[in-house]
């Protein structure tokens, strides 16, 4: 290869990714504050407005921001799908997503319905555009690797999730869609949690576990089929909400099995690292994957025994899995991008990646993250513990933000000292 097909122009400006990732701790802090000030007894009720606010702050504000930011980086660099004017697109997508999330959460949390319509317009518009933009780019990629196929599946899952969010909104406005509002909400949640978030984590894992931790590749069958199988299961499930609850549960079991096997295989891969040095990111992956395994087991038992609290615990553990992976990825991606962009500018005094976010600081984060797990499950039985959970998550978000800001400062201080 003679310098062909590769260009620095393929890597989007650092500012594109940074704006999304720096917003993650901000929404983490807001999530913690919402948890702290919510009535602890309502937090176990999924339909309670305060719970809806907390869930959306976490899943759109924290998780969504990180994932859209990561896609802006991955599409051109991993998939070879170049996004034109990435800064322009990132600016308004980021602004609309941020403002929409604030208004949606505020509308629910403070009981201000007038905020909900503009919030939904902003969120459906921005996320809908993300789907359109990225799906169309990915479809045109010639070499569709398993990661690319996984990203296509995840973006499609997001598309369905956004579509069903719109339908849920219509039912709130009194329009009959033909499906029960509760079922619509469940379908929306399934597509968002499993079709979008879990599937994107799979697609990213296929690429980064092997790359960052020098492990054997995932089995071909897992790489090739799991993301599409997850999407197929969720799509297939939709009509059965009208005709057969039994089939819906059976397909839920298939989705759970896919997640369970993915978690097991990934944990196994992490034990097969060539050089078994376990940094905080490895432990965050392990923590998240163990949490996912437990979530699936509890969900199965919860369905079998009709014990709703087990199902609630499974949902919380799934959320814990997702944020564990977000933190693990952030601690790899951000130092790498700072280092990469500074070296690309020819900055001679560019620090090593290990100095951009020191290992000691990511270890502190790991310990706080483990402390979080120790409080949120007992909170079901002692609602006052939600306050402790909130304070720990607040500390975690502040530390995470401080770590990211420190990395961004290194970049800003050195970016103009390049010789190229």
């Amino acid at each position: 290869m003679f310098n062909q097909g590769l260009s620095l122009d393929q890597a989007p400006p650092f500012g594109v990714i940074l704006r999304f990732f720096l917003t993650v701790p901000f929404f983490g802090i807001l999530t913690a504050l919402a948890l702290l000030s919510a009535d602890p007894t309502t937090l176990g009720v999924w339909d309670a407005p305060e719970t809806v606010a907390v869930v959306h702050l976490l899943l759109v504000g924290v998780v969504g921001m990180a994932m859209v930011g990561a896609l802006f980086q991955m599409l051109p660099v991993i998939a070879g799908a170049s996004i034109k004017a990435p800064m322009y697109h990132a600016r308004w997508i980021h602004a609309f997503m941020g403002l929409g999330t604030l208004m949606l959460a505020g509308g629910f949390f403070f009981g201000e319905p007038f905020l909900l319509h503009p919030a939904l317009a902003l969120l459906l518009g921005s996320l809908g555009f993300v789907v359109f933009l990225m799906f169309s780019k990915l479809l045109r990629v010639e070499n569709k690797t398993p990661s690319v196929v996984g990203m296509i599946a995840a973006i499609t899952g997001l598309g369905f999730g956004v579509f069903f969010a719109a339908l849920v909104t219509l039912t709130f406005m009194g329009i009959d869609i033909g499906l029960l509002p509760g079922d619509l909400r469940t379908i929306h949640m399934h597509f968002m949690l499993f079709g979008w978030i879990a599937t994107l984590i799979m697609a990213v894992a296929f690429q980064v576990i092997e790359m960052f931790y020098v492990t054997p590749p995932y089995p071909k069958a897992v790489r090739k089929w799991f993301p599409m199988a997850m999407l197929a299961v969720l799509v297939l499930q939709v009509p059965f909400y009208l005709v057969s609850g039994g089939v819906v549960i059976a397909l839920d079991a298939v989705a759970g099995l896919l997640l369970f096997v993915f978690a097991l295989v990934t944990l196994k891969r992490l034990t097969q690292r060539k050089r078994p040095v376990a940094d905080a990111t490895v432990w965050l992956w392990r923590t998240g994957l163990a949490s996912l395994l437990l979530a699936v087991v509890l969900a199965f038992i919860g369905v079998a025994t009709k014990q709703l609290p087990l199902f609630d615990a499974a949902a919380l553990l799934f959320g814990y899995f997702v944020i564990s992976i977000i933190f693990a990825m952030s601690y790899k991606i951000i130092p790498f991008l700072v280092w990469f962009h500074l070296n690309a500018k020819g900055v001679m005094e560019c620090p090593t990646m290990g100095d951009i976010i020191p290992a000691k600081r990511s270890r502190w984060h790991l310990w706080i993250h483990w402390a979080l797990a120790a409080t949120f499950l007992p909170a079901f039985f002692m609602p006052l513990l939600w306050k402790v959970t909130a304070l720990i998550f607040l500390a975690e978000s502040i530390l995470f933000g401080a770590n990211l800001i420190a990395a961004a400062k290194i970049y800003n201080n050195l970016k103009d000292k390049g010789i190229l």
């Binding site: 290869m1 003679f2 310098n3 590769l6 260009s7 620095l8 393929q10 890597a11 660099v77 092997e210 790359m211 960052f212 931790y213 020098v214 690292r273 060539k274 050089r275 040095v277 790899k332 130092p335 790498f336 280092w339 990469f340 070296n343 690309a344 500018k345 020819g346 001679m348 090593t352 990646m353 290990g354 190229l420």
Partner: protein
């Protein structure tokens, strides 16, 4: 005869292979030839090389072994570098 630099980073954890290779770029003279042996295709490294005006040639030896030749010398012919290996 070009001075030859060699670096084998197979099996090293991220980010060591990238960091060590970039250090080597900084040491490379205008006539040096640098051969990197690595366990995967380091796309970001090739982007950085390109930005530094370094030409390269990528040869795949096996699924887990790549040889990449780098030089700043405009006149050096890199076509013979991939002898017996898959020229990527």
């Amino acid at each position: 005869m070009h001075p030859m630099l060699e670096l084998d980073v197979r099996g090293l954890n991220h980010p060591e292979p990238l960091e060590r290779s970039v250090e080597m770029f900084k040491r490379m003279g205008p006539k040096d030839l640098f051969r990197l042996v690595i366990h995967r295709m380091p796309q970001p490294l090739l982007m950085i090389a390109q930005r530094h005006g370094i030409r390269y040639r990528v040869c795949q030896v096996s699924e887990a072994e790549w040889h990449i030749w780098f030089t700043r010398d405009e006149n050096l012919d890199l076509t013979a570098c991939c002898s017996g290996e898959k020229d990527v």
